[in-house]
Symmetry: C2
Subunit: 313 residues, 2 copies
């Protein structure tokens, strides 16, 4: 099944301890789309200025991504972000943000997208996320990302959006901040009463955990460590490519049961682990599906241990 | 098989955000011994003062622990440690350390222990760790703990000890510090050239990873997240009870193959997860083996996902 994805398309300038790049293709929707495109067609809704390069449009279209919903603002400039990871590879220091055309982004969903069953709401104003949902008919799975900026500044609006969300993907600090609760498990229980039935908590170099509401106070927990890596060149887009692998796999198989969700967490982790091996989208450009499947298999081996038969697993 | 364990027996005074305890039984050997005792007999080598309470001796002896090697120094005082976790549940602030009789600890291994095949070297001076090893005949498995204090102050001596160690259990900061290498995987590769064939890296609330040298530059990696918990009352002894569950399981089954080592990491994580649910050794006092086996099984469920048959796992 195809995925409707809304988010940002940007030009990034990034410095890490291993080098720097200038004005390269980035933004949450770009990373998400390229990652998800390995598994399923993606239709992007985003906006850019007329400085958006033809080669970048061509690249995205070559990766299973439909750009009918990519609005080009005449005379406008594409969103720019400048970040520096030299002090902390786990969190960029933002040196400059120029929203440009993204400041007035008002997502309009093309009529042909309105019946889509898989919807990814990238990290944008919760009000705009709701506007997207109002334009789709009856999605099977709504997956949502957000960040500290919206949790602090648009808390009530975010809660309103969460009512319509099936899967929320955020990091552990955001989970604690959103729930206003230091203990992660108690924070998760609280958030799962607000709308989402699944909460995926990203933990950077420590992996990801998925919590599924099972009625009452019951939780199903799945936890996966990150894939151990010797070379991390640029963490930009790790979270978005995780979400892309996650939603891409679910939409590709059109199956959203617990077992598929667990596999989806692993595929998300796999694609994210490749993404950070090179700058920008360079590694995903050359990545093959065979490499993804092989690393999925290595993941399986890394997490496997024998249970005992005398206790019911 | 029985385990020979050397380490500290102490009286701890601990404050956490959830309360405090005063002069309670603690020390690495106490936590290790009680944890390992669920799986295998343990013979402790440590020293205390003549203020060591009869009830504490009775408790340890009731838990599968032989105290023939517990030296009581007449007129001496037992090691005291005072710690505070109110600022950071992941790392205690040490308010006071009184080594007392432990300052002159010189481990003497009773003759009846010298043929032991499983040896645990708790976190003491690397020189004393070697003295212990000189007194045992031909151990099958030597497991070693250490800390930043010895890495900084006794680096060369620690390297000498590591030559005789099979499994090193340390946390991720200590791994980086010991190898003088920021990237965890590169740090692991470096340390695995110094003696140990297995390195278990504890990651606190993020679980544990085990790296096994496979010849050349090959590594076998096993990674397990921590068991998610709602109530953490007192982290004291988490690392030592992890080591106790780990070594206890291996000695209890007398099997040290890769598959048993993986299960041992889980048993270590399980016992540690119980230990932090109450202050001091309170939770381990009341813990049953059935509870351990049930949580092992929950762990298995938490980490399980289906692989694919078309790619060889």
């Amino acid at each position: 099944m195809a995925i409707l994805a809304v988010g940002s398309v940007a030009y990034d300038s990034v410095t890490t301890p291993h080098g720097s790049v200038d004005e390269v293709l980035g933004g949450s929707a770009s990373y998400f789309g390229v990652a998800a495109g390995f598994f399923s067609p993606v239709s992007l809704v985003a906006c850019v200025g007329d400085d958006f390069r033809g080669e970048d449009r061509f690249f995205l279209e070559s990766r299973n991504i439909d750009l009918k919903g990519l609005e080009v603002i005449e005379g406008g400039e594409t969103f720019r972000w400048t970040g520096d990871y030299r002090n902390d590879m786990n969190a960029a220091e933002t040196l400059d943000t120029q929203l440009n055309v993204f400041a007035d982004f008002n997502p309009v969903i093309p009529a042909s997208y309105r019946g889509y069953e898989y919807v990814f709401l990238g990290n944008i104003d919760p009000l705009l996320q709701r506007k997207v949902l109002e334009q789709v008919e009856s999605p099977r799975l709504v997956v949502c990302d957000t960040m500290n900026f919206w949790i602090e500044g648009s808390f009530e609006s975010l809660l309103e959006t969460l009512k319509f969300v099936d899967v929320l993907i955020i990091n552990d600090a955001e989970t604690r901040q959103l729930a206003r609760e230091e203990n992660l498990i108690r924070a998760v229980r609280k958030i799962l009463k607000w709308g989402p039935s699944v909460l995926v908590v990203k933990r950077g170099e420590y992996g990801a955990a998925m919590f599924t509401a099972k009625g009452g106070n019951d939780l199903d927990v799945f936890a996966a460590p990150a894939f151990p890596q010797e070379e991390i060149l640029d963490p930009t887009g790790a979270g978005d490519s995780f979400a892309g692998g996650f939603v891409g796999y679910l939409a590709g198989t059109n199956c959203v049961d617990e077992e598929s969700m667990r596999q989806a967490v692993i595929f998300g982790s796999v694609v994210a682990s490749f993404n950070i091996e090179k700058f920008s989208l360079e590694r995903l450009r050359e990545l093959t599906f065979t490499e993804i499947r092989l690393r999925f298999s290595e993941y399986h081996k890394m997490m496997h241990f024998e249970g005992f038969e005398d206790v019911q697993d």
